[in-house]
């Protein structure tokens, strides 16, 4: 019994100290806003994290939009309300699916790669040697990745939404015969810029920060062995996914809570 309480206490202390380390880490690296000569590092990371994730995000967005169109149509048509399909597809995507699914895909595609890359740099002493050259790896390695992830995530979410709405159009209008004008005009009149679009973007900004933070911290803090790298990569995907889903509930409650 005593042993159980002791291990519970030890676990809690370890979790708290990891959280403290992660917070210090974020504070120290987030100040590394790219300087004049650091722009190319930043752009390279934007390319790797953002542009390279574009394909998977857009393809997923297209399929999710198409599924939404199909499912939405089969339900709405029973009520003779298939004209509201555009509004349904757009609101589902902008408020929920685009920020959440894009963040989950981002965690799997870019987050795991970031963890493995930084972890391998640590295991091969590249981070240590950079410190000994007098260059702070938090600024040179971590900061550009953190900022690139932070900025890429909302842009990817926009792409996801746009392609998803087009996917819904392809299925609903082109295939199932919903009237073209009502698909777009219902969407236009019922989607509010601040409530729907900006709130969705705000979610993606938060998710981008959290997922990239978890990914770079897991890479920086791991045990520099092959087993340590594999565990940290897994942790990145698991923690990021849970954090995204949990935070999504909190943010939704804060943003749209009064509607329900």
């Amino acid at each position: 019994m005593i042993g159980y309480i002791a291990s519970l206490g030890r676990g809690t202390l370890e979790a708290l100290s990891a959280l403290g380390r992660a917070a210090m880490f974020l504070a120290q690296s987030a100040v590394g806003i790219p300087s004049r000569e650091g722009w190319h590092l930043w752009l390279r990371q934007m390319h790797f994290i953002g542009v390279m994730s574009l394909a998977i995000v857009l393809v997923s967005g297209l399929f999710i939009g198409m599924v939404l169109g199909l499912q939405g149509y089969t339900i709405l048509v029973d009520f003779g309300a298939e004209d509201a399909l555009g509004q349904m597809v757009a609101l589902s995507l902008l408020r929920e699916l685009a920020p959440v699914v894009a963040a989950l895909l981002f965690a799997g595609r870019a987050g795991s790669a970031l963890t493995a890359e930084i972890g391998l740099m640590k295991a091969t002493e590249q981070l240590t040697s950079m410190e000994m050259i007098g260059v702070d790896p938090l600024r040179r390695i971590v900061a550009p990745r953190l900022w690139a992830g932070f900025i890429s995530m909302p842009l990817l979410t926009v792409g996801f939404s746009v392609v998803g709405i087009w996917g819904g159009y392809l299925v609903g209008v082109q295939w199932l015969g919903v009237f073209d004008g009502s698909y777009w005009s219902n969407m236009q009149s019922n989607v509010a810029f601040v409530d729907d679009i900006l709130n969705g973007m705000l979610k993606s900004v938060v998710f981008g920060l959290v997922v990239t933070w978890i990914a770079v911290f897991q890479g920086y803090d791991l045990t520099p062995t092959s087993e340590g790298i594999s565990r940290a990569t897994t942790r990145t995907v698991v923690y990021s996914s849970l954090a995204v889903l949990g935070l999504d509930f909190v943010l939704t409650a804060l943003m749209f809570g009064e509607l329900g």
């Binding site: 391998l120 740099m121 091969t124 002493e125 590249q126 240590t128 040697s129 950079m130 410190e131 000994m132 050259i133 007098g134 260059v135 702070d136 040179r140």
Partner: protein
């Protein structure tokens, strides 16, 4: 125990000291790595720190570089206490140091040329032509000017270490820390490296700390040697005085004898009983 070279020690004390290690205590988990180590690294000399594997020689370099923090004691470089410096000041101090890592630790996303140019690019505003000249000079010195366009993944372990040496001295630092520079070198490059470290030290007047257990090569270029064992300085002196040291442990280490006061085996129960115990379990 150190009576026979106390006078030599005094001579070094009067020299200007660059790195001063005082009462260093450091432990990793349950293991006490250092239990009160005192070292003085004189300016402009080559000082070797030797000792059996696992005595924390690399850890000592990381402590000097400020990457690890001692439990007690202090390390001063040129009068500045490394572990009391704020982060920025510590990074400024590190620009005056070069460190050669055991694995080379080259940046895998940069070519050989860019690896050597890295310290120049981040710390100086030199024009590109001058950066190129300096990098080629450093690579020429380690015999790898022709390998400038290769990526680190294409280099052998020994070559990677030579590129790392070129990078470590790219900024002409005051202090160079060598972590096992001779491991894995073929006889030709070994001889060249030994000469190179000596030449670089004399020509630039820099201070070198070599951590190694390659006794012959290290003693041939070191001005002063510290032998560390069991978390303490076991002996120190010039190579000549250590060679004739009568202490059994020093003799065993310097002459590479398997039998002596320092055990070869990691602590274990009696071998005979151990074997029998296994048989007992099997039957």
């Amino acid at each position: 125990m150190f009576d026979n070279y106390r006078d030599v020690d005094e001579r070094y004390v009067t020299d200007t000291t660059l790195v001063d290690v005082e009462g260093l205590h450091f432990s990793l988990g349950e293991n006490d790595i250092f239990r009160g180590v005192d070292l003085r690294i004189p300016k402009g000399k080559i000082t070797a720190v030797m000792g059996p594997s696992g005595t924390g020689k690399t850890t000592l370099l990381k402590l000097i570089g400020g990457q690890l923090v001692p439990d007690a004691g202090r390390i001063c470089i040129d009068g500045q206490d490394v572990h009391r410096l704020p982060r920025r000041a510590l990074f400024r101090l590190r620009r005056r140091m070069g460190m050669l890592f055991q694995s080379g630790a080259l940046f895998s996303d940069l070519s050989v040329f860019e690896n050597v140019a890295f310290p120049l690019r981040v710390h100086t505003d030199l024009p590109e032509a001058m950066v190129r000249d300096i990098v080629l000079m450093k690579l020429q010195a380690v015999g790898l000017r022709g390998a400038r366009n290769l990526s680190p993944a294409e280099l052998s372990g020994g070559m990677a270490r030579r590129v790392a040496l070129a990078r470590a001295v790219a900024l002409d630092p005051e202090l160079v820390l060598y972590d096992e520079p001779f491991v894995g070198q073929d006889p030709i490059s070994m001889g060249v490296l030994v000469q190179l470290i000596k030449t670089v030290n004399q020509a630039l007047g820099l201070t070198a700390v070599i951590v190694s257990h390659d006794i012959k090569e290290t003693l041939s270029i070191a001005d002063y040697v510290y032998i560390i064992a069991d978390g303490q300085v076991m002996a120190h002196g010039t190579p000549q005085t250590l060679d004739v040291n009568s202490d059994a442990r020093v003799k065993q280490f310097v002459h590479g004898e398997p039998d002596g006061p320092v055990p070869f085996h990691y602590p274990a129960p009696d071998f005979y009983r151990d074997i029998l115990a296994t048989r007992g379990e099997r039957t």
